[in-house]
Homo-oligomer: 431 residues x 2
């Protein structure tokens, strides 16, 4: 590893911050990573949200480039279920958030040039002096730091992004959806009732339940529905009545008591989508991951998109010989359009997963999509395939869907006309 | 004044924060107002941006309700110029930002139950403990406070709003326009060249210059244009060449040397528009003014909308017997739609002022608008009139414009057909 006297400050030690630190650490920079939580490897109650995550090709490539993929996959569960079953045997993985985060923190700690600082909450960014102020809860004091490059991987409510939003032409919008989610659990004992290695989906129009497998044979079940529906589920009877009506087969999987308790006790989490028109400021500040492009979880691409940021950043550092000014500018240019595309796709999938999959027309289209892919693999990639199993720019995936939709509609129309004409001719011949 | 043991914390001592403090102070609450700057009444160089502001009916009503209007108008310059000249002699006022801010601070200081704290920059909001952390630059220490109600009037880049954005369903978008502005000055000596008591506008398509009168007979001139154009004006020759081509009559008003120096030296300010879907959180937090709805300045309504927040808030406190929970909820319900409406109107006026006013069709419409208003005053209020000279909800002003536009288009079409028919008949009679 080359030595490099430049100092990189990374804000946030979640998945993307940790992987980003590993990338820069591998390049020989001096890295200081500041995380507002305690070290999750030592804390007893890590935060509970989104226990497991989908890991697909983009995320895998980012891990592979720094030699971490193999180890991660050992603790991930492949999901080859219907929605992700392609003829060439590709699959996505279900991987535990806490496992992966701990794994990445340990990986970066093995690098001598990386320092981890926990319990440091970023509270102020001075864009003139490039100074960050962190608050340390345990010692109730404040810490001031700066660096040659400051990277915000501090999540959807990024403090760094909020500061950058006051710089010229840094547009930003955040949109909550009116659905929230809670996480439930199927214990390993009930696991025999579930088809293994699949992503299970219960689509129900305005609501949806999904289950992802864990390495210990338990399943994490996520219930998505309007926040107003959650508000109604306050008594045992209501919860049971609701599940009997909407998801009757899930009751034995989780167990009546467990189900009722968890639903009543758990406050639903909300979901937000964030789009920015810029991801950097000068040659000094950059945001990545959720801080740059939080998306709704319905494409399983949140972590993958964040990891892909690391790949893109790494390639640009090579291309522009680590000239931060050019790297950051190019990162914004390349990544904003992709971030917007995957945000839109995720939002669209939110509709598709809970509603469209219940309609026959959806399956007709899917079937046609699959046949076309079978015949001209490279030229016709179904949207889900290109997003999940290739490294095609998200923006291009979205563009492909647009022209494919047109072809698909026309083909189905043509097919209808031919079928009709054929029937008519047959009818004439008969009479 | 009744005594009230409840404590109100106000963040920001700009125009809206100060007026809001005055309103609550008048009601007998204990008020603490925290402002990040030094006391502008003592500082030598108050910040330079938007030296003077348009004060129209909404702002005047808010000042009048607490008995401050008369005093302010003494130091304001009425503008009765073409764009604001209505037959009933209504006018808007040009008022100095610094004067008004100092005046309001002095007014609130006269109330025994209000305390002002300067040099206190809000850096953290704890939404669980309702605790605010301020940083004091002079003593380099931190201050923690809380209150029964916490109001953020801390401007477009409000720290309080940023915290509220992490609460459920608090959507927010911020959009920069690609135009910036700089402020120039016409000295009192050149003032005889300007028609007094008018708002002067030089519309030039993609750019625009406006001049507002000051009480000392000087004028504040604001040049709006694309940021890319400002970037080009770096040398004396370029500045002069530009003004000779685009605003030749402005050169003698400002003076060649002064003009060139000011344009080269001044960094253009950027303009941002901010829309939120909520303006409060629980019964505890509220945002007002630019923190809640920063808008572009082209309708002269920024301050007026902020002041109107105080009027609305005050009326709701009466209506709901100071039950903060209901007041805040109702404030969001009433004010979000108005804030969005005036944001859109201001953005539209940005186009109208610099471009549409140069087209004949604009004047035909304006003329028709005026005639209709003359005939049925109450039922037909031109948009500019209702926004500037009434207290009609902004949302309703916008709705009125929509149906008026339809009537106007149809009437002009009908007028055209009648005129054409008449010409045709005349022609037939002649031949």
């Amino acid at each position: 590893m080359e030595e490099n006297s430049k100092r990189i400050v990374i804000v946030g030690g979640g998945l993307v911050g940790a992987l980003c630190a590993y990338y820069f650490g591998k390049r020989g920079y001096r890295i200081d990573l500041y995380e507002y939580r305690e070290d999750i490897r030592r804390s007893k109650s890590p935060r509970g949200r989104s226990i497991n995550l989908s890991l697909s090709n983009r995320g895998r490539l980012a891990l592979r480039d720094v030699g971490l993929e193999e180890e991660v996959l050992k603790s991930a569960v492949p999901m080859v279920g219907r929605r992700v079953h392609f003829q060439n045997g590709k699959c996505i993985y279900s991987v535990g958030r806490n496992f992966l985060n701990k794994f990445l923190l340990t990986a970066i700690e093995s690098l001598p040039n990386v320092l981890l600082h926990f319990d440091c909450k970023l509270i102020d960014v001075n864009l003139k002096t490039d100074e960050l102020t962190f608050y340390r809860c345990s010692s109730q004091d404040y810490l001031r730091v700066t660096g040659d490059l400051i990277i915000g991987a501090d999540g959807a409510f990024s403090c760094l992004r909020r500061s950058l939003q006051s710089t010229p032409l840094f547009d930003c919008s955040q949109t909550y959806i009116d659905h929230g989610y809670i996480e439930l659990r199927i214990s390993p004992e009930q696991s025999h009732l579930m088809k293994p290695n699949h992503l299970h989906i219960w689509p129900r129009g305005s609501m949806m339940l999904i289950a992802l497998p864990n390495i210990d044979k338990s399943w994490t079940v996520t219930l998505f529905m309007p926040l107003s529906e959650f508000d109604r589920l306050v008594y045992k009877e209501m919860v049971l009545e609701f599940f009997k009506q909407v998801f009757p087969d899930v009751i034995p999987l989780i167990g009546t008591d467990q189900l009722v308790n968890d639903v009543i006790r758990t406050k639903p989490s909300v979901l937000v989508s964030i789009k920015c028109s810029k991801l950097h400021y000068r040659d000094k500040f950059l945001i990545v991951g959720d801080a740059a492009h939080a998306i709704v979880p319905f494409y399983g691409q949140g972590m993958n998109a964040g990891f892909e940021d690391c790949t893109v950043l790494n390639n640009l550092l090579d291309k522009y010989s680590e000239d931060f000014g050019r790297v950051l500018e190019e990162f914004t240019r390349l990544r904003v359009s992709d971030a917007h595309a995957i945000a839109d796709l995720a939002m669209y999938n939110y509709l598709e997963m809970r509603d469209l999959v219940t309609r026959p027309s959806y399956y007709l289209k899917k079937w046609f999509d699959k046949q076309m892919h079978r015949v001209v693999e490279d030229k016709w990639q179904p949207l889900y395939y290109s997003v999940t199993f290739t490294h095609t720019k998200y923006e291009v995936c979205l563009q492909q869907r647009d022209w494919q939709s047109k072809v698909l509609k026309r083909s189905l129309l043509l097919f209808g006309i031919v079928a009709l004409s054929f029937s008519a001719l047959t009818f004439i011949n008969i009479t």
